[in-house]
């Protein structure tokens, strides 16, 4: 038997409903797909962004704020810790590498971050894709998304808490806080990290101190960049990143620097807490979208049942012409399943598109690249819904299967 001609005729007879019904299903399915894909991507990329920040040390205060400011460059005024801590860490046996991170200045909305060349190169993980690493005071390397060119000269301005310039735009507000005497020459550009640091301008910590009138952290004015900072009094810094030698060292350092005017913690600790909140939000959204799916599937099935009822006469005529019960069952099932399954597939595509759109908005706002993709969980989710859809399509099919022919034709 070949039920397709009748199935196609039935679908054609629906006119615009044949498009709108799958579209409704698609929107419901897409919400679930997008929530799932988005949350997975957000976890992956936020964890990736924190990769090089093994242990963070800062002044007592909110751990979350310290992570947001250092890892995700969400500007906030942080209290400073004594610069002597830097030297103590640099000498520490358990420390493989240490770098200060200092904020406070902006150029055209891009944050200027003072650190060491070693951390700018992510402990040797990356090298500039264009030009070279900064090697002296007054030099800068820029993140891959900074709209400046190698060779440009820039003047940093003091950032004002609570005020944020759009990226790449020279505003009057910014100009009014400019450090007029300070100059940086862009000497290199870093490869893309997919993190907010792609929008940062990295300069030697010495220059940041100098511009703010704190000396350069070294005993002589022309000293080599980086630790040890052998000035009589090393200027303070908002945050220090430590790369411990071993896991045991990491825990020992964390324990030691938790007291005496500093806090020390692994960014992962903060992320785990955030993920758990994120997970709770995700769970709420998953339940909401599941309810959503149930409603839409039930409504669509009701619609298909009503349609099968309206078409009782047509199917009775087919039976009179010699069609078997199973021919009618198959015809109605295929028509109903087509609408539900087309909706599921379109929902998968629509969900992918939606999470891609959300990801580009998130990336534009935060610089965090979200590698959204439809993974196994989303596919399983949609396959499950397709299975449910196929089963629900049986309801109108069975209803038509059971209808007595003679009564309807009379």
């Amino acid at each position: 038997m070949n039920p397709w001609p009748v199935v196609i005729a039935d679908l054609r007879a629906l006119r615009w409903v044949a498009w709108v019904a799958p579209l409704l299903v698609a929107v419901a399915v897409a919400v679930g797909v997008a929530v799932s894909a988005q949350e997975a991507a957000l976890r992956r990329s936020s964890a990736l962004a924190a990769d090089d920040f093994d242990l963070l040390i800062g002044a007592p205060g909110s751990h979350t704020q310290l992570v947001l400011t250092t890892v995700y460059l969400q500007p906030d005024a942080l209290a400073l810790i004594d610069g002597a801590v830097l030297n103590a860490l640099a000498r520490d046996e358990r420390v493989k590498a240490v770098a200060p991170i200092a904020f406070g200045d902006v150029v055209r909305g891009y944050p200027v971050v003072g650190t060491t060349a070693a951390f700018a190169g992510r402990w040797g993980r990356i090298t500039p894709s264009e030009g070279r690493q900064f090697a002296g005071e007054g030099e800068a390397v820029i993140g891959s998304d900074v709209r400046l060119s190698v060779g440009d000269t820039i003047t940093p301005a003091h950032a004002v808490a609570g005020h944020r310039n759009p990226f790449g735009v020279a505003s009057e507000e910014e100009a009014s806080h400019r450090h007029d005497a300070a100059r940086y020459v862009v000497v290199g550009r870093l490869p893309r990290l997919g993190t907010p640091w792609d929008r940062a301008i990295l300069v030697p910590i010495e220059s940041v101190w100098e511009i703010h009138g704190l000396g350069n952290g070294h005993a002589t004015g022309d000293a080599r960049l980086g630790p040890p900072f052998d000035a009589e009094k090393t200027p303070g810094v908002p945050a220090i990143v430590v790369k411990p030698r071993a896991v045991a060292d990491a825990y020992a350092l964390r324990a030691q620097y938790r007291q005496g005017g500093t806090v020390a913690f692994f960014p992962a600790e903060v992320l785990v807490a955030l993920y758990s909140t994120l997970g709770n939000v995700r769970d709420v959204l998953v339940v909401a979208s599941a309810l959503n799916n149930i409603l839409i599937f039930a409504a669509t099935t009701m619609l298909l049942l009503a349609l099968a009822g309206l078409r009782r006469r047509r199917y009775a005529v087919l039976r009179a012409l010699g069609a078997s019960r199973s021919y009618i069952l198959l015809t109605v099932w295929l028509g109903a399943a087509f609408i539900l399954l087309a909706g599921c597939l379109a929902g998968l595509a629509l969900g992918g598109l939606a999470s891609w759109l959300v990801a580009s908005v998130v990336e534009q706002r935060t610089g965090l690249a979200l590698p959204v993709g439809l993974g196994v969980p989303e596919l399983i989710n949609v396959l499950g819904l397709m299975a449910i859809g196929s089963l629900m399509a049986l309801l109108p099919a069975i209803a038509s299967f059971r209808t007595p022919v003679g009564d309807i034709l009379r």
Partner: protein, 164 residues
Amino acid sequence: MGDRTITSLSEGERDRWRRNTVGLVFQDFQLVEDLSVLENILLPARFDHWRTPRALLERAIMLADRLGLDHRARRVSALSRGAQQRVAIARALVREPKLILADEPTASLDSTNGVRIAELLIESARRTQASILLISHDSDVLRRADRVHQLVAGALGPALAASS
């Protein structure tokens, strides 16, 4: 019917029997509106064939031609009522049934079309040596029948003269 007792057949056997032995023509055509002329004629072939056998396809085209239909016409709903009933007749004849049942086949047509349809139906039945059982109030149709019975209050009356 022949040497078979229809009422003792199983449902599946009755389906098959209707498919292979009976051609139905309804008063209100009962075509599938969103299908083409050819698809409507071939509909009874779809009930047991995935691919329509070539012979059936050729027969469907031949029937359409003979009944003055363009078999390529996309939608039967766009056809005139007379043409729609001709499609229904072609559909009834496509599997060469031994018995054609027609329920008021001309009642929803104007008299010119009605006469034409009645002639086509009877002539087609003759060609395929099929019996035709037809219910009608139309004297133009009744005049062409071999035997006419009157139904009175659900009971079959005696045979009337064919020409009366």
